[in-house]
Amino acid sequence: MSETSVSKKPPSERPAPRALPAGASLVRVLAWAAVAVVTIMIPFYLDAFWLTAGMFAMSAAVGAIGINLLTGATGQLSMGHAFFLAVGAYGYVYFSSEPDGHLGGLGLPTPLAAVLAIALTGLAGGVFSPIAGRLKGAYLGIATLALIFLGQHVLFSAEPVTGGYNGRAVPPLELLGFGFSDDTELVVLGVPFGAPERLWYLGAALLVLSAWFARGVLRDRPGRAMNTIRDHETAAGVMGVPVARYRAGVFVLSSMYGGLAGVMLALSFQRAVPEYFGVMLSLDYLAMIVIGGLGSVGGAVIGAFFVSLLPQLLTRYSDSLPLVAQPGESGFSPAEAARVLYGAAVVAVVLFLPGGLLGLASRIRASLAGRLPHPRDTRSSS
């Protein structure tokens, strides 16, 4: 509704947060413990396909958390996220690989390279801040779309750095002598631990860290400022929040998350290919936070897993159906079906789950925990 009206309309989404009964907190602890155990066990049971899929999902989750800080919490639509993933990925590759032939590189220790890559994305975000600080809504969204096209142009042209169209190999991360690759033999409890297994744990750790950090940001002073910029820019300024600087700041932060996601992605790909960092990827990220739930860390993570796993599952099991649709016969090929289903899923969530999957979850919890306070309880005079 227009800013000019005296807004008395209470938001109908999101029920009031209620202090959890003592039991609930215990339940929560147990739940988390369970999640932790499962995460640790998975590499012992699932094969490479699942682990790689998992790694994709986890890096997506990190990236999604980033864009949710920006788009969800601060209300700054960004379609350029893929660009920052690219910067992260290629930054890492360039910093870490030894120069060979026409391909350049700095040959730095891989952990350092990773950190620098993230810093670099932050820088890239900062360079964009004159725009990020001033624009909002659809305008910012499409302005950031430019980043994708510029980015891809550079990726294709700057061959010495990016290796051009076919990309270039990603040096495996090596932490304190432990390499995240298949090179060294490693067998744990009779299970061969190759790159996928090792990366799984790395991914999980990084995801937990970034989620924890983002949660901290959202729950404290910066988060409040961000939300107010989203809800009422002027009020934010009058309350002492330097709006433009904050917008730019959040933009930088979310780019750095993108950067980290890019590094993780590169590590699991083992090769960085420009093709990948296109518009579709950016849109997928938007889909993630909307499907998961805008503005929250949990939402980003759920959405990321949903969006990055769904198509893979659909294609994976596509051969349980007769594969190539016979020509002439007008039925879907399972692959097409997978794509359509994915699109439909996006639509469905937006339509029927305001607040996304997370919103659904919390609404269920709310309806279990009881009803909203009666107006009586929220009355002025009584």
Binding site: E3, T228, V238, V241, P242
Partner: protein, 268 residues
Amino acid sequence: MSAPPPLEVRDVTVRFSGLVALDSVGFTVEPGSIHAVIGPNGAGKSTCFNVLSGVYRASSGSLRFGGAELTKLPTHEIAALGVARTFQNIALSPHLSVADNLMLGRHRLTRTGFVSAGLRLPAARRERALHSERVAEIAAFVGLAGRLPVPVGLLPYGVQKRVELARALCMEPRLLLLDEPVAGMNGGERREMAALISAIREDLGISLLLVEHDMGMVMRLADAVTVLDFGRRIAGGTPAEVQRDPEVIRAYLGAAAEQPAAHDEEQV
């Protein structure tokens, strides 16, 4: 915190494409006083607030608050000087709890940045504890004690108005600008709000600049009144003087002033 400095408004002019919303307006808010700005709708009262808080830029003129010249400063730096305001149209974050909305008021008094918040550094923890205590105090003072965890959006309008006031108080202002604090309230609520405002002045000794159409309330609270009409200052002085001013009666009070039976008198 010492007594606030005076606020000196000197022939401030604000133009919007075509129309002059403020036409070389000038007045002074004495330290620790309640100064009311009244005038017909569209006279320029809110505009006046908006230049004071940096939302609009004055085309000319000066706004001195203590040592500072406000006309050149961006909103957040004005806030940093201890100038707080409420809005004529509620401007809260509906999804955030009352507590969070109030905590936003502490923004200028706190330091926690992305890093320390993200890493939950002890400094951030300490700061949060310290300030939420104060927020609770202020909430109790304004009568929001029970409501801290409730999302603002679910509160009735009258209560939201008080959250606005509380948020402004949380900035620990030295100058507080209230734009129609009792609009949309019924008699009982108006009386409460009035009491609240004078309590603020007594307890904190800060200066208040008040825009209100409820004459009864203005008469009761204000130490001095400035009357605007079509962006020009047409009268000023004590409430009594202003109320008798024929110009003011013509432009603003209308019949209301003569016949005490009219509702405004009785509002308080």
